[in-house]
């Protein structure tokens, strides 16, 4: 069981891909995880059990220096809050849970209803 900093999940299975483990953090996607892995010369198919403990420690240190998880969620929420406080159109759309980017609302606004909230990302939500 390999331990990386994570709020919900304390440990990862050692057979998990390093790339997948890194991408479970809010704020890290394919680009960011590829860059982190290249920095520590970890190949894309690496599993957590194969990388040495010293590299895991440096990865942990690296992750704690990046804005991920709650820091990243807060940034997004602050942006939406700023829009709402200014009284903009976009802020109102976020508040109402409707599409923001000028889409038509005649049908199929499921994604907007799901994601466009003031508490975007929430705590523990994926998006």
């Amino acid at each position: 069981m390999v331990s990386l900093p994570s709020t919900e999940r304390a440990n990862f299975n050692e057979r998990k891909l390093v790339k997948k483990a890194l991408e479970t953090f809010y704020g890290l996607g394919p680009q960011a995880s590829a860059r982190i892995m290249a920095k520590y010369t970890i190949h894309p198919q690496a599993r957590l059990g194969t990388i040495p403990a010293k590299t895991i420690t440096s990865l942990t240190a690296e992750l704690s220096n990046m804005t991920i998880e709650n820091d990243a969620r807060r940034i997004v929420q602050e942006n939406i809050k700023r829009l709402r406080d200014m009284g903009t159109y976009r802020g109102r759309r976020h508040a109402m849970g409707l599409p923001v980017r000028g889409q038509r609302t005649r049908n199929q606004i499921e994604t907007a209803k799901k994601l466009n909230t003031l508490e975007r990302g929430g705590s523990g939500s994926r998006y």
């Binding site: 920095k39 010369t41 894309p44």
Partner: protein, 463 residues
């Protein structure tokens, strides 16, 4: 025989058969009871309903049968996919065939003969992964090969170069399925029989498709692949142990993290570490030792040349793509192939440009065309003046190489091959002049893989 296990999909029905059959509800007592009130009370759990009281939806009548079979262990499917099976008891044994020997391999008289591979050489070839699972070794009783004109040509070039302590740098090209990898295998077999030190990289793509671990080499811009280096050293130790244990370490390797004693043999040096951290420095030390005068001759072979002539899929810490020639192991081969490494005891550097999954590398094609023209004494084809993406490093790595172009076998060789297949029981039709000629033509002029495909087509049609 392992029960009724499916050999294609690793399904193990024998596990299922071991499960007890699901028992039905034990509402009926198995032994005669004094009183029947026990069974009456049990049955009274379902209330008695009138026949006209209508239907009710009852969920959960059927229980989902849980799959209690054991899935394959991690790594088992891969091992199964890559397994090499060299003998098949269903095939007939073909008596009276010669065995490959150092004399056989260079003798022009043995062109067109089927020879067997000696057992120790088979073990060595298996250890260095020379057999490929896409080849048809598993159809025959024991591994045999056809000695082609190209085999004798290659073997005699190799032995004469080693005898003169020169370096032979050769690239084997040809169309798809023409037998380049098998020719590489024959070269390795010759190397083993002549007691040379054989270094074989069975798949160039394993080094460049970012499939193994990599790490930076301090104080240089190159990268090492430690886990692959360990694997290579173990394979070399297994195959060339008897040759390497006769030579002792001569240089002082003070910078190595492991201790190198005075009386250590080269074989022990290879086996000194299995830790990825120390593996590559040890391999570099071994390579330096091997280049000293007084060592055995070297055969350095690599299959899948196209993969090492391009930018790899690894990324540097600065997130730039790494060129394969910046990977240290590949650089060793590229330098050897390009003539930059000085071998004191004679060496053969062999690159097989196999076509399976091979990328198109214009620089490599141009370089090989130029080398081939230079060899034949023709006019050297010029580079395309409007093509911007020529890679200089590829041209350097292929500077002055010899080229062996492998195309179809001749009709005599095709006949020998078909007679062997018929004697093994795989080919059911008559082997006469007309049939051989027909199969030879259908195979695009004797390309061996196409001949095999044509024969299998006949076999499937006959079934």
């Amino acid at each position: 025989m392992a029960g009724q296990n499916c050999w294609r999909c690793l399904y193990r029905p024998s596990q299922r058969l071991l499960l007890a059959p699901l028992s039905t509800s034990a509402s009926t007592p198995t032994s005669a009871a004094f009183s029947t009130s026990a069974s009456l009370f049990a049955r009274a759990a379902e209330p008695i309903r009138h026949t006209r009281s209508g239907k009710r939806l009852v969920l959960g009548k059927k229980k989902k049968v849980q799959d209690k079979t054991k899935p394959p262990l991690p790594g088992e499917r891969k091992a199964f996919r890559k397994r090499i099976q060299l003998s098949n008891d269903n095939a007939l044994e073909v008596p009276g065939l010669d065995v490959l020997s150092p004399e056989n391999a260079v003798d022009p008289e043995s062109i067109g003969k089927i020879v067997g591979i000696p057992a120790e050489v088979v073990d060595q070839l298996r250890a260095c992964e020379a057999f490929k699972s896409s080849q048809n070794w598993s159809l025959f009783r024991s591994p045999h090969m056809l000695v082609r004109k190209e085999t004798v040509d290659l073997a005699s070039q190799m032995t004469s170069a080693i005898a003169n302590k020169e370096t032979l740098r050769l690239v084997v090209t040809g169309s798809r399925g023409s037998g380049k990898s098998i020719l590489g295998l024959q070269a390795l077999a010759t190397g083993f029989m002549n007691n040379w030190v054989v270094i074989n990289i069975p798949e160039g793509q394993e080094l460049t498709t970012a499939a193994t671990e990599y790490s930076t080499i301090p104080n240089s811009e190159m990268f090492s692949q430690p886990v692959y280096a360990v694997k290579l050293m173990q394979a070399m130790h297994q195959t060339s142990h008897h040759v390497l244990s006769q030579h002792k370490v001569m240089l002082d390797h003070l910078q190595l993290p492991i201790s190198v004693t005075r009386n250590m043999t080269l074989a022990a040096l290879l086996n000194a570490t299995k830790e990825p951290e120390f593996a590559f420095p040890v391999f570099q030390a071994f390579w330096k030792e091997l280049l000293l005068p007084g060592r055995p001759p070297i055969l350095f072979a690599l299959d899948g040349l196209a993969h090492i002539m391009r930018v790899s899929e690894y990324r540097s810490p600065a997130f730039e793509l790494i060129h394969s020639h910046d990977l240290a192991l590949v650089r060793m081969f590229a330098d050897a192939l390009g003539g930059k490494t000085a071998f004191a005891n004679g060496a053969v550097v062999l690159g097989v440009a196999s076509r399976g999954n091979a990328p198109i590398i214009p620089s490599m094609e141009k370089a090989i065309a130029q080398a081939s023209a230079a060899q034949k004494g023709e006019e050297i084809p010029a580079r395309d003046p409007f093509f911007r993406k020529y890679d200089e490093r590829v041209f350097e790595a292929l500077r002055g190489v010899k080229v062996l172009d492998v195309q179809g076998v001749s009709k005599t060789e095709a006949r020998a091959l078909m007679e062997y297949w018929a004697a093994s029981g795989i080919l059911r039709s008559r082997v006469d002049e007309r049939n051989v000629s027909e199969k030879w033509t259908m195979a695009g002029g004797g390309v061996v893989a196409e001949m095999e495909r044509v024969i299998m087509h006949d076999l499937r049609a006959a079934l």
